[in-house]
């Protein structure tokens, strides 16, 4: 069993990475998606779309540990109304109890308001997936049931500090689709996270910088750990997107987290983002 490649060719002239600044969260998302070629270019009428937010923790959205529900609500609306997607599913395999995580993070309610469908994981929802070229995730259990018949996949991640792998951004977000003994992956975390960039080849990745968890990640818990910003980035190259977010949102570098270099080596993208990005205000 292998996951399909969900990538879509960018329209000519669109950059691999678009950053929108200013305005409200919803406006930024709209502007960024326009600048990368329009969401309708990537999602066609009748598509089934899976959105993977970070709903790992039972935390209020203000604490920056989970994906901003406003972004999700706007995205689901755009997918259903502008793109006329047939169905928008939202799923995650959180660290804390799924029902509570989706409730307290505000993600469950936001998705429901916009007309999307939240799928919670259970024991039957997982299956082993093969990923050629991956080091440690070559054969690994994945939250597969929500991916059944899906045409497009979009990751929506917050930007977070992470002690062991330095940062949890767009690529690390796919960790939430993993099942099995995923607590073993920390023994070779950079190999595992860079593998994720091969396991899931998403249509689009979104990193939201409205509430950046600067320290005590990935759990946070203290509003003082959160930096409020006005940037949101959309990318078709998740490696470039994460490199940008690491430097611009988490304000770290120039040495990037090891997994980004490894992902580049494995052919998932390129860390050099400077001349492949566009900023819109």
């Amino acid at each position: 069993l292998q996951l399909p490649d969900y990538r879509v060719e960018r329209p000519s002239g669109a950059q691999a990475l678009v950053v929108a600044r200013g305005g409200g969260v919803a406006q930024r998302l709209r502007k960024a998606l326009e600048a990368i070629g329009g969401l309708t270019h990537y999602v066609k009428p009748g598509d089934i779309v899976l959105i993977k937010p970070n709903a790992a923790f039972d935390r209020s959205p203000l604490l920056g540990a989970t994906t901003n529900p406003e972004v999700l609500e706007q995205l689901v609306r755009m997918l259903l109304e502008d793109c006329r997607a047939e169905e928008v599913r939202v799923t995650d395999n959180p660290i804390e109890s799924p029902a509570a995580c989706f409730a307290k993070s505000g993600i469950g309610a936001a998705v429901a308001r916009a007309g999307g469908r939240v799928l919670l994981p259970d024991g039957n929802a997982f299956a082993t997936v093969t990923t050629p070229g991956a080091e440690v995730l070559q054969q690994w259990s994945l939250l597969l049931r929500p991916l059944h018949n899906v045409d497009k996949v979009i990751g929506v991640a917050p930007a977070k500090d992470h002690n062991l792998c330095h940062a949890s951004l767009g690529i690390k977000n796919w960790y939430g689709l993993l099942g099995g003994r995923r607590n073993q992956l920390h023994q070779d975390i950079h190999a595992a996270v860079s593998d994720l960039a091969l396991v899931v080849r998403p249509t689009l990745t979104i990193v939201d910088g409205s509430a950046v968890l600067m320290r005590n990640g990935p759990t946070g818990g203290n509003p003082a750990d959160v930096k409020h910003g006005d940037a949101l980035a959309v990318g078709t190259d998740p490696v470039a997107l994460d490199a940008w977010a690491y430097e611009q949102l988490l304000e770290r570098g120039p040495q990037l987290p090891g997994y980004l270099y490894e992902a580049e080596r494995k052919g998932a993208g390129s860390v050099a983002y400077a001349d492949r990005m566009r900023e819109v205000l």
């Binding site: 804390e96 109890s97 509570a100 039957n124 002690n163 070779d188």
Partner: protein
């Protein structure tokens, strides 16, 4: 003709509205309420519904907790309603309200089909039925001395415990298995099952709870209403009260032909065919239907000794024996060394909001409502090793199975007796007005360095640090330059514990990849509820520091 038709219609209506049918309706209502309360006791469904109300109207819970604690907690006063009902109509609770009684009756009705003569014999009073009165006396003496043990045999505690830990997980497993085969049923299954959106729940030792339940229910095939007639301590308490009941079954002796048909479906074995035993009668009203001479009625009558035996069949010697047994059982229970000030099981971690152990045990009725509502399955019925005989099946946290979810205080909401007092999430976390008191600590996590990957094997890990939810984290790391077995120089992050910050939520233990005996484990040291088990002389103020990499 019209008159005759009207007469027939009225007769039909009266037949339809006869007391035994009204009783059936009441039973159906309360049984449905019971099932619904178990269904609603789940993190996504509990929205202030009074899911513990059936336990809160339990007169035995009311009386025994009042005896053991000296006061009446929260809604337990509702039991007075049942007391009033009993003083008016006798033991109606047993056959009109109690869902466990309904279950016994239904099982007997469905599976214990016998010839009428055999049924008359089995539905006559037997001296074995007096044991429940002795049992309730022992339990009440224990409660009065401060050891609450009613939970083991109280019908509602027993029913909730059995359904929560044994039946509900089995039902969920079955429903999920069927839904797994027919994916279109997934949505329906999620609405019906008891714990949707969670892994299959497991409860340690539920086999024995389930086995006891099956045996008690199965005994109906040997002795009808075995539990209700022989064991039920709540029934015994209500039976003792029903001697004062205003209404009772009355036999018009002149009309009675001694045919014994009234015994055919008698639930309580209260001898309506001769001297009615008031304390045994469940007011099931079946005898009214079965009497061919209309000699029986449920009416306001005197308790004359010619016709009724008002008091339980327990002589003074037996009462004395029961009281002495209770008196002797108390030191046996208390002093068997399971939990003392200096000796406590390292696995005796109690839910957030639990009172100090002594007071906790004075309240816990082992109904497992807290286990049912727990979203992570961390709450488990305690084993003998963990809590001793006294604390058997009381709630403990097993962090190999789950963890205490940070922003959750549901177990404290559903606890009917206040063994876990009602706390808010703010109080649990020590937020807002609770900042001075600090968070509620369940214990402290300790590293087992010999099993820890970075400490013992020079292999990177620190999953524990990653999931630690406090801010600043109670598990922090220090970087150590070292050589791997291949001679490669690496910087290894080694975790260490900051006990001042640990709240004992156990997510570190739950997430530790050393699956069997975890390399980090929470024990009750430092738990807020126990002054004796504090670890630190002084809690240091830890700065929120983390140097960027």
């Amino acid at each position: 003709v019209r008159l005759i038709a009207a007469w027939i219609r009225e007769r039909q209506l009266r037949r339809l509205l006869r007391l035994s049918n009204v009783r059936l309706l009441s039973q159906a209502f309360f049984f449905a309420a019971f099932v619904l309360s178990v269904w609603a006791t789940w993190t996504t469904r509990l929205q202030g519904y009074p899911v513990s109300r059936l336990l809160e109207i339990d007169l035995l819970v009311f009386v025994s907790t009042a005896l053991s604690t000296g006061f009446v907690y929260r809604f337990l006063g509702w039991a007075v309603v049942v007391l009033i009902l009993t003083l008016l109509f006798g033991r109606v609770f047993c056959n009109w309200i109690c869902p466990f009684g309904t279950l016994h009756q239904a099982v007997g009705w469905l599976f214990c089909v016998r010839k009428p003569s055999e049924r008359w014999r089995r539905n006559q009073y037997r001296s074995a039925y007096r044991h429940k009165y002795a049992l309730v006396l022992v339990l009440l003496v224990l409660a009065g001395l401060g050891a609450l043990q009613i939970g083991l045999v109280d019908p509602l505690s027993l029913l909730y415990r059995s359904v929560v830990t044994a039946i509900a997980p089995a039902v969920d497993w079955l429903a999920k298995t069927i839904a797994g085969a027919f994916p279109s049923l997934n949505g329906v299954a999620d609405d019906l099952i008891f714990a949707p959106g969670a892994e299959q729940r497991v409860f340690v030792g539920s086999f024995w709870i389930g086995a006891l339940f099956v045996v008690l229910v199965g005994m109906n095939l040997v002795i009808p209403r075995f539990f209700c007639r022989v064991l039920c301590p709540l029934g015994a308490l209500l039976g003792a009260c029903s001697r004062f009941a205003v209404f009772r079954i009355n036999r018009a002796v002149g009309r009675c032909t001694d045919c014994n048909l009234c015994l055919t479906r008698c639930e309580g074995a209260c001898n309506p065919h001769s001297q009615l035993r008031l304390s045994e009668c469940f007011a099931c009203m079946n005898c009214l239907d079965d009497c061919p001479e209309d000699a029986l009625s449920f009416t306001m009558m005197h308790r004359d000794r010619q016709q009724v035996i008002p008091e339980p069949d327990l002589g003074r010697r037996r009462v004395f024996f029961a009281l002495v047994t209770g008196l002797l059982a108390y030191p046996l229970l208390k002093h068997n060394g399971a939990t003392t000030i200096t000796k406590v099981s390292p696995q005796l971690v109690r839910p957030p909001g639990s009172l100090e152990e002594e007071e906790f045990l004075q309240r816990c009725i082992k109904c497992e409502q807290c286990l049912d509502v727990c979203p992570t399955n961390v709450l488990q019925p305690a084993s003998l090793e963990q809590a001793g005989v006294e604390g058997l099946w009381s709630p403990v946290l097993d962090f190999n199975l789950g963890f205490c979810q940070l922003k959750c205080s549901l177990c404290s909401e559903v606890c009917p007796t206040g063994a876990i007092r009602t706390i808010s999430v703010a109080e649990k976390l020590g937020a807002a007005s609770f900042a001075q008191a600090g968070p509620i600590r369940l214990g402290t996590a300790f590293f087992d360095l010999g099993r820890c990957l970075p400490h013992a094997m020079e292999i990177p890990c620190v999953v524990c640090e990653e999931v630690c939810p406090t801010s600043p984290k109670a598990i922090q790391t220090s970087d150590v330059e070292t050589h791997t077995v291949f001679g490669e120089r690496i910087t290894l992050r080694k975790p260490f514990m900051v006990p001042d910050l640990c709240i004992g939520c156990g997510i570190c233990q739950y997430s530790c990849p050393v699956t069997d005996q975890r390399a980090v484990r929470v024990s009750p040291m430092g738990e807020s509820r126990s002054p004796q088990r504090q670890l630190l002389l002084d809690r240091r103020i830890i700065p929120a520091r983390r140097k960027p990499v």
